[in-house]
């Protein structure tokens, strides 16, 4: 009891002292690897642990599987430090060895972890020997033949070990090795090495179940400088290219012309109309240049071409006057009523002959609007009250306060008021006249605006005033506008041109529709705008003589003025409330604003 206690105390003190002195029991050693080079012997190496500051001895112990007998390592020296070498007598194959290493020093010992080893599976042969690499010159080109020998220790002769070999080649500057498997043979031919270069060769081997050996020392070999003579390949290439060249040449020859066209596109020669090259060559420049002169250049402006407009006028239930003309262009743009311009009854953006100015914000005068449809009396004033002043006789219906294209087309007889033809002879510029043949009493609703009197006895002469000139209407309510019976068919009046006197020359479009009704239509084709008065009255001038129908109220000018000049001014006036702004055509004529602009 006391002894044990004393021993304990002593050991404790010793430990403390040793710790204070920095010495301790050894650390745990560790078996690193065991290897057999020829499957007959093997060696195990361990790694010593911390020696604890004291000299430490290591011992290796082992026991075979299923046997408790522990043996110690027979040879600690042959294989070097920290190793144990098992010779042939101590090596048994296909038996597990249980190996441990014990480190002992003055203060204690430490045992490593046990390791199980079966010698048959830890074979790592030595490196092959006598590696030689020679350059062999052959017809196809030189190659390198590498040969070697088996490692001395490996006994392949008895079949105890079978080795397979591997070699690798590279140039000095290369990073990667080129590896080749040689199988069990002891030589290898390396082809396709670059000429005039030095190569490094290494070989290693492996048993059928085991580890690869180390690579041998590098063997150097230098390839000779040679030109690879791959004759057959070059011959083939040459033949092939010759063949292709022949084909190309033949193709080019066949397609000579198109090639020429492609490469050298023809330069287009000068093409001047009337230019005669021969003349130029002959040297007569005058003739040449004379031929260039084009007769009739510059072209005279034919306003007919410019100002052709076609009014699509048609009658509808509400007796809207639809004007497919440009008069409404401005109106439409300015008018606030939505649907007019796109009513499809006419294009609004064309510049009509009839000049008008849209009165913006003339809503106030809307009250003046009357139902043209009803009476047709409403003066122009009412029309003017709308934003778009309009024009015309046959005034557009201002139900919505805008000028609508007034339907000149009298499609159906309507119980509308007839216009007094005589009194009013609207000149429709670019207004197609649709004559209602059905009944003479067919009153164009359009004209109702002009008058509110039915003129049943009117012959259908609407639409086509006897005097085909712009008539002046008085919009007076009481003005019995002469019913203008539409004559026959649609007629379009168009502004032909503007003469230097700023007159709008109108002419009907289709003369063929005109019935020879005698004096009514005697030669009256157009009327031109004579002038624009200060109160924005468009004076239309009548060029040719015409016969005035009776019944013109204020259009009696035609009679009166006839003698003095062939042209009869037609005055469009708006009597009541006609705004003075802008220019309005009070009659049936439309003046194209663009044409008349300069006249302002």
């Amino acid at each position: 009891m006391r002894n044990s206690g004393a021993v304990l105390i002593l050991s404790f003190i010793a430990k403390l002292i040793s710790q204070a002195a920095g010495v301790s029991a050894p650390g745990k050693p560790r078996l690193t690897s065991c290897r057999s080079p020829e499957k007959e012997t093997f060696t195990c190496w361990w790694e010593p642990g911390d020696d604890g500051g004291l000299p430490t001895t290591y011992a290796l112990y082992y026991h075979l599987e299923n046997s408790e007998t522990i043996y110690e390592c027979p040879d600690y020296r042959t294989a070097g430090d920290n190793s144990c070498f098992f010779n042939k007598n101590d090596t048994s194959l296909w038996v597990n060895y249980n190996i441990t290493v014990v480190a002992t020093n003055a203060l204690g010992k430490n045992i490593s972890d046990p390791v199980e080893v079966d010698v048959a599976y830890i074979v790592q042969p030595n490196t092959p020997e006598n590696v030689t690499a020679v350059v062999v010159d052959e017809d196809q080109g030189p190659f390198v033949r590498v040969s070697w020998e088996k490692p001395r220790t490996a006994d392949t002769r008895s079949g105890w070990i079978t080795l397979q070999y591997q070699l690798r080649v590279k140039q000095k500057k290369d990073k990667e090795w080129e590896e080749y498997d040689a199988g069990m043979q002891k030589y290898y031919n390396v082809f396709s090495l670059h000429p005039d270069k030095e190569f490094m060769v290494q070989v290693r081997c492996k048993p059928d179940h085991g580890f690869w050996s180390e690579w041998t020392q590098t063997t150097y070999v230098k390839m000779p400088d040679y030109i690879p003579r791959e004759r057959s390949l070059w011959i083939m290439i040459t033949i092939f290219s010759v063949f292709i060249v022949l084909i190309l040449t033949w193709t080019l020859n066949v397609k000579r012309n198109s090639v020429k066209l492609c490469l050298l596109p023809p330069v287009p020669g000068p093409k001047i109309k009337g230019f005669d090259k021969q003349l130029l060559k002959s040297g007569k420049s005058e003739e040449v240049f004379n031929s260039l002169v084009i007769q009739g250049f510059p072209p005279t402006i034919d306003y007919d071409d410019l100002l052709v407009e076609y009014l699509e006028v048609y009658d509808n239930e509400e007796q809207e006057l639809v004007l497919d003309s440009k008069d409404l262009s401005e109106d439409c743009m300015k008018s606030k009523s939505p649907s007019d311009c796109d009513s499809g009854r006419g294009s609004c953006d064309s510049r009509t002959l009839l000049l008008e100015k849209c009165m913006v914000g003339r809503e106030g005068s809307r009250s003046d609007q009357h139902q043209y449809s009803q009476h047709g009396e409403t003066s122009w004033a009412s029309t003017e009250s709308s934003e778009c002043q309009g024009l015309e006789p046959g005034s557009p219906e201002f139900s919505d306060g805008r000028v609508k294209t007034w339907p000149v087309v009298f499609s159906s007889p309507q119980p509308h008021h007839h216009y007094q033809v005589e009194a009013v002879k609207p000149v429709y510029h670019s207004v197609p006249e649709i004559l209602n043949h059905s009944s003479p009493h067919a009153m164009p609703a359009n004209y109702q605006n002009l008058q509110h009197q039915d003129i049943p006895q009117q012959e259908g002469r609407f639409g086509k005033p006897a005097c085909r000139h712009s008539q002046s209407y008085t919009h007076g309510l009481d003005t019995p506008a002469p019913g203008v019976s539409p004559s026959r068919s649609l007629e379009y009046v168009e502004v032909q041109r503007i003469n230097p006197e700023n007159m709008l020359l109108l002419r009907p479009l289709s003369d063929q529709n005109r019935e020879p009704e005698g004096s009514d239509y005697a030669g009256e084709d157009y009327s031109k705008v004579k002038e624009l008065t200060s109160n924005n009255i468009l004076l239309l001038q009548r060029d040719t003589s015409y016969q005035c129908a009776d019944g013109y109220s204020q259009a009696g000018q035609c009679t009166t003025q006839q003698p003095p000049h062939p042209c009869k001014p037609v005055i469009y006036q708006s009597h009541s409330g006609m705004p003075q702004e802008g220019m309005r055509v009070m009659g049936n004529g439309y003046v194209d604003t663009t044409v008349l602009m300069p006249s302002y």
Partner: protein
């Protein structure tokens, strides 16, 4: 017409029967070597057998490492194999000298014994692997293939032995294995060995077989590869 044909046939048969020499007897297909069909030489036979054993061993190696990888994560653990392999009763040379000391006949016999001993255990192994859910079909197929290979190898070695005997290289001491030689893989404690143990043991034994065959070959036909 038919009558005459019949008569001819009868005559022919009679002639054949009457001829004492024309007896139909079985003859080997290739009685003469080079003139007849190609007869594999002993070296060829050995090569085939050795290749077969190499394949068998690699299969067993694969299965074993698969097993170790998936079912025994701890390598080098103590007490990995407690039980002996059932073939440990067969005396096998465990070194080169020992193997070279053995006569050819004994060596051949050892090989055959080993192969015979594994016939049933391999079948059992395949059965148990097929039943277990852990193995995929690939592994159990490998086990089946292994069993077939062992069987074939045994047959091949028997043929080699036969050939050697014919060539006079082998004495007549090599006899067929008796039924008593077949062993059951029962360990000392009487329990059946686990799959892993079976695989471990078979891997080792296939290595032995391969090695012994090589030694035998290089001893008998040392021309090439030796």
């Amino acid at each position: 017409m038919s009558r005459s044909l019949k008569q001819v046939a009868v005559l022919l048969v009679a002639l054949l029967c009457l001829d004492p020499h024309s007896r139909v007897s079985s003859a080997p297909i290739c009685t003469h070597g080079p003139s007849g069909c190609h007869v594999p030489s002993l070296a060829d036979l050995f090569d085939r057998v050795i290749q077969h054993s190499a394949r068998m061993h690699s299969l067993s190696n694969d299965l074993h490492s698969e097993f170790e990888q998936y079912f025994l994560p701890s390598k080098n653990s103590i007490g990995k194999i407690y039980r002996k392999c059932h073939t440990s009763s067969i005396l096998t040379p465990n070194g080169k000298e020992n193997a070279q000391k053995l006569a050819r006949e004994e060596l051949t016999e050892v090989i055959l014994k080993l192969l015979m001993a594994w016939r049933d255990p391999l079948f059992q192994l395949h059965q148990s692997m097929a039943h277990q859910q852990d193995f995929n079909s690939f592994s159990s197929n490998k086990a089946l293939e292994m069993g077939d290979m062992a069987h074939e190898l045994r047959k091949g070695v028997e043929k080699v032995a036969e050939k050697m005997r014919v060539l006079g290289m082998l004495g007549n001491s090599v006899t067929g294995l008796s039924a008593a030689e077949t062993m059951l893989p029962i360990s000392d404690s009487g329990e059946a060995m686990s799959n892993y143990e079976l695989l471990y043991c078979f891997r080792r034994d296939s290595n032995k077989v391969q090695n012994y065959l090589k030694i035998l070959k290089c001893r008998i036909v040392p021309e090439h590869d030796c």
